[in-house]
Amino acid sequence: MYRFLRLPILLVGLFMAVSSYAANDPQPTLTTEDSLGPEIQQPIEFPHNRHAGLRNPNDPTNSDPLKGGMEIDCQYCHTYARRSAVAGIPPLQKCIGCHQNIESVRNKPRIVELFKYWDAKKPVPWKKVHDLPDFVRFNHERHIKRFVEQQNRPTQEACGYCHGDVKSMTVARRQKTLSMGWCASCHEKAHPVTAAGGTPVGDQAYWYSFQKPAAKPDASGVVKAQGPNDCWQCHK
């Protein structure tokens, strides 16, 4: 009896299960090409995974890049992130600084290409992947101070909030929408002001925003503050 209803009920049930899962997902999943931006071709296919990726778990002492990454800190190359609005692309000098001493990969095609630029005294024309619109003011320094210094989060985790899991990519690809709603979804949350091992900055350990954060700790015993949320903080 009612055998003919089996398939519709199954389909409706599946639809509801999937849609309720999607509704609980804090960040919308990225499905369209548009939300990820265009796939950008770089002049040299820079392997982020070789440089920043985790070491080979089977052989942690071996730093041979072919068997895993080298866990180089993001800020070793993107050195301006902690002290200016932009993270910066490292100058060619920085690449050569290490690579002139790494004989083992000297004849690999990408390194040969790199040294061609060096010999021609020309910078590598890297393309911008995370390109915000001109009317947006984003400051890397503030986010590094907030999450890496004050909250003592690992650099790769803090950078990954916006840049995704770069250590597993070769050429960096945009992983988040970088839309205003996406930025605001984080700014509206109350984050702890400091954490164990973090460095509080003066008596303004939080950004002053429209809603001034409570100086008293909440029920969990942590002082939390929202990100700034007035328009001119980000729009220029």
Binding site: A85, D134, F135, R137, N139, E141, R142, K145, M180, G181, A184, S185, E188, V201, G202, D203, Q204, W207, Y208, S209, F210, Q211, K212, N229, D230, C231, W232, Q233, H235, K236
Partner: protein, 284 residues
């Protein structure tokens, strides 16, 4: 500011400033302009054009009332039958007064203009739909509308001229309203530096473009809640208080000897710019 945040906290964004439950802390940007020092040289206006990527619209569009000068010098003439009439000119630099209870904010249908925590009247170009209601409601007439798409107008920014645009300021497109921002891009940069050092912005650390270019130093700009700041001292010396629509000093029958006043104070926009009345008879 997402839409849900806007709707939930609507009453806060629509607060009449200044209010006791949200005192300005640690910043309230304010200005004072000494009209006695002002010579009407227009340097401030030019500096503003350069700093804020303002299009120079040309004679014809100016005559149509489509000028974009965020900072303009108003001229007033003494008509007392003097021999050289142009010696009787008085000047008044006029820009957005960053009103605490801004008439423009309450009428914007899309909340494109609202108040920031440090007492600025913000204008968000992306949110603006160009109804021009704010301009109609502004008693100072300091809001300017983009009637043309100036970035693509070859007469305004020819190819090589685009190199001199300020990258910290948006180049506005057709159909949005704009106005003086108190050089918010400089304020943001100064606040970020101060924040990293765990302090508030020091007096003199940040200047607006008009203040920087004024040859006679007529314009002072700073943090009104910082007792060390020049602006705070001037406002205090002139007994002008930001949250009053009628100053105590003016209640006396014989009036006040002090020069400080704010324009349209009795209309209760609570402007953030104080002018110091001119005392010189003329520059002769």
């Amino acid at each position: 500011m997402s839409v849900s945040n806007l709707l939930e906290n609507w009453s806060q964004f629509r607060h009449t400033h200044p209010v006791d439950d949200k005192p300005h802390d640690p910043y309230k940007w304010a200005m004072s302009i000494d009209l006695d020092a002002c010579t009407g040289c227009n340097a401030c206006s030019i500096a503003c054009y350069a700093e804020n990527n303002i299009p120079v619209v040309g004679k014809e569009r100016f005559q149509h009332g489509q000028q974009m000068h965020w900072m303009r010098i108003e001229r007033y003439w003494d008509e007392d039958g003097r021999e050289f009439a142009d010696q009787g000119a008085q000047f008044l630099p006029m820009m957005c007064q960053q009103c605490e209870a801004a008439p423009c904010e309450t009428v914007c249908p899309v909340a494109a203009t609202n108040h920031t925590a440090d007492g600025l009247n913000s204008q968000v170009y992306n949110r603006c739909v160009g109804s021009r209601y704010c301009s109609a409601n502004c008693p100072f007439k300091v809001r300017y509308f983009n009637w043309y798409d100036y970035p693509t107008d070859d007469a305004v920014w020819p190819a090589e001229m685009s190199q001199q645009l300020n990258p910290d300021v948006t180049v506005r497109s057709k159909g949005v309203m704009e106005k003086c921002t108190f050089c918010v891009q400089r304020l943001t940069a100064a606040k970020s530096v101060a924040k990293s050092e765990g302090r508030i912005v020091r007096e003199g650390e940040v200047q607006t473009a008009c203040q920087q270019s004024c040859p006679t130093g007529a314009i002072s700009f700073g943090n009104l809640v910082n007792p060390e700041s020049r602006v705070h001292k001037q406002w205090q010396a002139q007994q002008v208080e930001i949250d009053k629509d009628k100053q105590t000093k003016d209640e006396k029958e014989e009036g006040s000897e002090l020069r400080g006043y704010r324009i349209f104070e009795d209309m209760r926009p609570y402007p953030s710019v104080m002018y110091l009345e001119r005392v010189r008879e003329s520059a002769v």
